[in-house]
Symmetry: C2
Subunit: 210 residues, 2 copies
């Protein structure tokens, strides 16, 4: 599918066909595409919980302002942003370091330098830890929504949920922030898609503070 067509046809869809499932294979292919997202030092501080069982969908819906799409969509992803995804000893931080050594882009002797860089940039304050996690998970979620569209799927990113309630119901450890939920499925034929919303123009986006 053409990039522009993906970009222009990706819409936050409110009506999902509850009878059209998303196969495991298709979901995994979308996740593998989303995995190509760049991140801070390639730390990839993101994960997803796949909510596709009826009872869990009901639980999540109640925690998400009772939005019907949570149960109508075949699945909803709880996106997790790892505030500790830069810490020494974290399994994926160590994996990342070993993979860089293997690729020749870092040497074992740079372990302390790399640790210091991560701590300075991402670990220095609680707000830096959160910004690191939320930004990178934002990159990932955006690629995921576009990748899904390129595979014929529709999505809806959701903020309207009880953050603490979702963490409790799905036993999510405290190092994770939940930046959004993403409903994934197929647009229900016969429903009306609203016209695309307004957007800032390039001239509105560019600012200066001289």
């Amino acid at each position: 599918m053409n990039f522009n067509d993906v970009l222009n046809s990706r819409r936050s869809v409110n009506f999902f066909d509850p009878d059209k499932r998303v196969s495991n294979e298709l979901l995994k292919s979308v996740l593998d595409m989303a995995a190509k997202t760049p991140s801070s030092f390639n730390l990839q501080p993101w994960s997803v919980i796949v909510v596709d069982q009826e009872s869990e969908k009901e639980t999540l819906k109640k925690l998400a302002w009772n939005q019907p799409k949570v149960t109508e969509a075949p699945l909803t992803l709880i996106v997790l942003a790892d505030r500790h995804g830069w810490k020494e000893g974290h399994p994926f931080v160590e994996k990342n370091f070993q993979e860089m050594i293997r690729a020749g882009s870092m040497q074992e002797s740079q372990r302390e330098w790399f640790k210091g860089a991560r701590e300075g940039l991402y670990g220095a304050t609680p707000e830096r830890q959160l910004a690191f996690a939320a930004k990178n998970a934002g990159f990932f979620a955006m690629t995921l929504m576009l990748a899904a569209k390129s595979k014929g799927l529709d999505t809806h990113p959701m903020d309207g949920f009880d953050l603490e309630g979702v963490k409790k119901a799905f036993h999510i450890p405290d190092n994770y922030w939940v930046p959004l939920l993403i409903a994934v499925g197929y647009f229900k034929q016969g429903e009306t898609l609203m016209p695309a919303k307004w957007r800032k123009t390039a001239d509105e986006l560019i600012v200066r503070f001289d």
Copy 2:
């Protein structure tokens, strides 16, 4: 350009051709594409400062670990994430509300409801304000990097910079977080692009905490 080709060929490029400029027209077309990014209640809490003058590039480079790409790339974007982009009275929040009324997706009588929803989700705590800003700016930056690639441009997202120093040098108000810089330009022919880095597999991305 095909979506998969864009996704697979977007790489964080370290070598930019300093002699190949990016026209204003091309930059604006990329920004207009990136503007299609979805956001929380369509609030679009993002802006960019375009750094393309030699003296400003030198200033920014010094604040960005002296990374050569900041001066070699024809331009670097300072991406801004507005922690106050949900507040009643903010010009773009009001514009958003008026545009929704015009589109028929909201009514003037819902002003208080909308204000309460924004305050509850994004304004309740400083960390929620930051997560709102960083996540949405993450969405925007990701679309921008892909859109740039689809237009033949290369990019490099950068975290290695002095956050407070950049804010001071470019007179950036305190409501903004600076989640990243993005160098934009053309890959320098003759340089070697490293092989793509490892990524988590779909099976590594999916988690549960039962």
